[in-house]
Each structure stands twice: as structure tokens, then as C-alpha cells.
């Protein structure tokens, strides 16, 4: 089990991320996992040697807000999730529009 895990609704995601940013943390990773028909997004942040996670559950049609306004360097993670899982993420600062990984199968993990 993950320590320091906060589960939140999609609508509360940005506020929670902002809250963590205010503590001076930096982004460590963002990843998605397919569980049945829905997807778990896991955001990981680090400050000093402490690690915090935020988890939110989305489904394919949802409009997921980008966190790149808060953590600009998250753009690679978000593009990766878009390309591999087909989850639409809105407002990424460097949007590759599906061109980060040009895979043989579209959204292979979806």
C-alpha cells in the first residue's frame, strides 16, 4: 500500500495539487493504470525525502485538467498518458498532440 496517499475527485484535483505545490514540493511522476473500465491517475510529489501521492479515478470521456500551470515540467508525463492511454488532458503547456510516441497501435494501454 502507498503511504501518504490522498484520494480525490477529479474536480478537486487542481486544488489539491496547488496545495502540495505551496508546501514547496516538486513533481516526481504522473502515471495511469487501467482498472476495469476506468483509469486511476497517480500523481507523485516529493519534498525533501517525503513522498506524497494523489490518486484520482477517471473514465475515457472525462476532461482531465492539465497540471502544467502549476508544475510546468509535468508536460512529458501528461503527453505520455495521452498517447498511451488515450485520456484527453486539457491545457498542456507543450502539447505534442499525440506525437510524443508514434505507436503502431493507437493508445495501446486503453
Amino acid at each position: 500500500m502507498l503511504d501518504n496517499l490522498y484520494e480525490t475527485e477529479l474536480s478537486g484535483l487542481l486544488n489539491k495539487v496547488k496545495e502540495i505545490q505551496n508546501t514547496g514540493a516538486h513533481i516526481m511522476q504522473v502515471c495511469a493504470t487501467k482498472i476495469g473500465e476506468s483509469y486511476e491517475l497517480l500523481y507523485t510529489f516529493g519534498k525533501g525525502y517525503d513522498i506524497k501521492h494523489i490518486k484520482t479515478v477517471v473514465s475515457l470521456g472525462d476532461h482531465v485538467p492539465s497540471i502544467t500551470d502549476i508544475f510546468p515540467s509535468a508536460f512529458l508525463y501528461e503527453n505520455e498518458i495521452h498517447d498511451l492511454f488515450g485520456i484527453e488532458i486539457e491545457g498542456i503547456n507543450h502539447d505534442y498532440r499525440g506525437g510524443l510516441y508514434r505507436t503502431a497501435v493507437e493508445a495501446p494501454f486503453a
Binding site: R102, A104, V105
Partner: protein, 162 residues
């Protein structure tokens, strides 16, 4: 063995795990030292005689591999280094791997290993030298030229249909 040329190598990492790439580099350094045969690792396809391709080919880099191959002057030899370049290896089942190097360009020598050992690589290069000489000889006498990658794709298609 008589070496008639100082062949230059070009190395491109198809989609290997890097293990074969560092072994290719290690083969040029003092312990194994292929450079004593006059073999030099070059970065320019137009200077190269031998193309070392490591790793399987994926959908994004297939055009890069084709382009590098087409840019090389005749006579040229292609070495598939490591099991991934031979047939896809452990990554064969991955969604993004098309297969070994021979799915996009013709391969002359297959060197197995995961990762390929420098000794095996040197053995492969020596075999490649012989093929290079034969090709050069054919060019002198019969106007031989290697298949371009487009012609090779055509040939593969015919093979599938037949």
C-alpha cells in the same frame, strides 16, 4: 586473413536497451580494439561501409533506419547486432516492435547475444568484411548494386503474397 580495406562502421540504435550499443562502443576501445584493423566508428552514413544496427525496429524509427541505409554508398554490409536486431528478442511481443532489422532493410550478418559480446561482434565484422569484398568484386565485374530499402520492401511483399 587478408584485409583488403579499412572499413568504417556506422552504428544506429534501433530500439535496443543500450546494452548492445555499449558493447559496440566497447569493441572499439583498447581491450578489444577493432581499430587496429583500420576499422573506425564514424557518425556519417555517407562515409560508412558497414552498418551496425542494434535493437528491433519500431514504428517510429523505421524511416530513420531506411534513410540511413539508403544514404550509405555501395558496397555496403548490414550487421544485425544482438538478438533484438535479429528477430525482436524479448521485446518481440511488444505492441510497438515490428521485428528485427530485416523487416525494413536487407541484413547480411546476424550476430546473436543478449547483450552481444564484443568477441562475437568482432567475429561478425570479420564475416562482414568477406561479404564486403565479394560485393566489391561483383560491382567491378557485373555492375552489382544493393537493393534500396524501397525495393527490399517490395520484395518482402512479393514473398508474402507468393
Amino acid at each position: 586473413m587478408r584485409i583488403s580495406k579499412s572499413p568504417w562502421l556506422l552504428h544506429y540504435d534501433g530500439s535496443s536497451c543500450n546494452g548492445c550499443d555499449i558493447e559496440v562502443l566497447a569493441a572499439t576501445t583498447p581491450r578489444f580494439d577493432v581499430e587496429r584493423f583500420g576499422i573506425i566508428n564514424t557518425g556519417n552514413p555517407r562515409h560508412a561501409d558497414i552498418f551496425l544496427c542494434t535493437g528491433g525496429v519500431n514504428s517510429q524509427n523505421q524511416d530513420v533506419v531506411r534513410q540511413i541505409y539508403d544514404q550509405m554508398p555501395d558496397p555496403k554490409v548490414v550487421l544485425a547486432c544482438g538478438i533484438c536486431a535479429c528477430d525482436g528478442g524479448i521485446f518481440k511481443e511488444c505492441y510497438n516492435i515490428l521485428g528485427g532489422t530485416d523487416t525494413v532493410i536487407p541484413v547480411d550478418v546476424y550476430v546473436p547475444g543478449c547483450a552481444v559480446r564484443p568477441e562475437a561482434l568482432i567475429d561478425g565484422v570479420v564475416k562482414a568484411l568477406k561479404i564486403l569484398d565479394e560485393k566489391a568484386d561483383k560491382m567491378k565485374h557485373g555492375g552489382y548494386r544493393s537493393l534500396t530499402s524501397a525495393e527490399y520492401a517490395e520484395k518482402l511483399k512479393e514473398g508474402e503474397n507468393a
